[in-house]
Amino acid sequence: MTDTILKVKNVSHWFDSNRVLHNVNLDIKRGQVVALVGPSGCGKSTLLRAIVGTHPPLRGEITMRDRGEARLVTSPGRDRGIVYQRYSLFPHLTARENVAFGLMLDETGIPFRLFCRKAWKKLRKNHLEQAAEMLEKMKLGASLNKYPPEMSGGMCQRVAIAQALIMKPAALLLDEPFGALDEATREELQRILLTLYAENQTAREEGRDPPHTVVIVTHEINEAIFVSDRVVGLSQYWDWREAGETSCPGATIVYDKKAPVFSPDDERDFLSFRDQKDEILHAVFDPEFCQSYREYVALARTGSARKISNRSKR
């Protein structure tokens, strides 16, 4: 049940002389909700793009294993859902059509849709029903037939999450999904992620595989700790001089610890995890602090957890 779904191995990436990622190693297990934090421009999006497969890393490899063989990631595929901050929805489709879009693309092809019109019509009806159900779950039952420009930013992001989730992806990837939203809307959406984690818990209790594995990129540390059960810090501030480099070779993982788990209706109390926030600020965001990158990596990449502090069970 703790099998690795996503494995990032020795990944480095650079743009000409701008070295962005250096030897990034990350194992993500089924059912984890991982928050990826780091200073602006450290390469969070670059790492996520590599995982999505749109921009494979220049060195190292990323593999996905969702039941069966591990597959090397070289291009985007339907096993990884993605939600971006902007352009999260197709503007020419209504909320419901946007959610049904993936079902259509996944289950049918152009010849089928062109030449088996009757069967396609029937299937389409079923897709739209599934999509409506999914949107009800996201509390968007009243906006099924709205186009993206008619919806607020928060509603659009909820539709986008539904659009990705309906595909039952092995990993759901989110790149600053709530970055453009106001604080109240942000909290609503954070609670949706907590719902996903709660569904994982229920599945675990019932002895099933947890259905959702999530990686969320954010620059908001409170958000990271609140929604995730594991916070990973990516930063260019580490002891690269000790590694014999004369200039920064790029960001690497300098922080990797469990985070407290909240249930969807828990109060959101930032004070309760202020210590961890300060620790992350220090370890990841402080340019003056260039200690060994292993210091705050509690969940070692091999999986043999070297726990420095365990704050997850409250």
């Binding site: 749109t54 902007r86 352009y87 020419h92 693309l105 152009i110 186009y147 420009p149 659009q163």
Partner: protein, 294 residues
Amino acid sequence: MIGKVGSKNANRVCALVSIAALLSFYTYLSHERHRKNPDDRTIPTWSQLWEGVVFLCQKPDTEETSGLLAAALEGTGLEGETEKHAGFLEGRILWEASKATLARLLGGLALGLAGGVLFGVLMGCFPLFDAGVSPVMYFASRIIPTAAMPIFFTLAGIELKMYLAMIAFGSMPIVTLTVSQYVREFPEELRYKAYTLGASHAEVITTAIFPHILPKVIDLAVLMIGPALVYLIAAEQIATGEGFGYRIRVLSRATRFEVVYPLIIILTVYAGAITCALKALQRFLCPWYLIGRR
């Protein structure tokens, strides 16, 4: 305040006032003209214009049109070629000219747009194809179709296919370049997203990119009506055959301006009607596009 939108009725009144002003100015002009020279035909009175419209819509009187034709051909060196213009003597002028001109215009535009969208989408999607084709398209888009007209006449005669080819070649390079730009502006995030939802390359083009650029392509079609009409009318005025350009030339030579004015106005109305039809099509096919800019 600047930019403040007025009420609907106020807008209508303003429009009516300016149209009324234009019409009264014309009435005054033709009245003055006819006071000085009662036989004037260059600025016809309203009753003369009405006669012109009737002339356009009625089956022609063979004698009258033969006279017209003789007057039109006089001094052009083509006096002996009346039989070439036999079409002039049959059928209602407006009906025949409309059929010919609209078939050429719509057919040529449809061909130019279809080719332009095909090439434009391919150029936008495949940079290598773009690298190969775009220099040719840039060059072709700079060619002035009316300058190349004699070549078209020589190669394809004066039949329908010549007009179609001319309008299609005249509009396709611009359409191609513009559409390829539209495709490049398609947000990469949406492209990636389509792939993560299981789309094939063909599906990314047909279900994500194409619907997204369709409303802009329709706007582009509206814009292309103007240039297409310029090429078409210029060609019709040179070639001998049927169509608005040809009728206008012949009737102007015979100083039948009471017929020429209605012809020009009807042609304008046609262009306006096509624009309205395309806009309606856009509203019908792409309701989302207008929501975004309300």
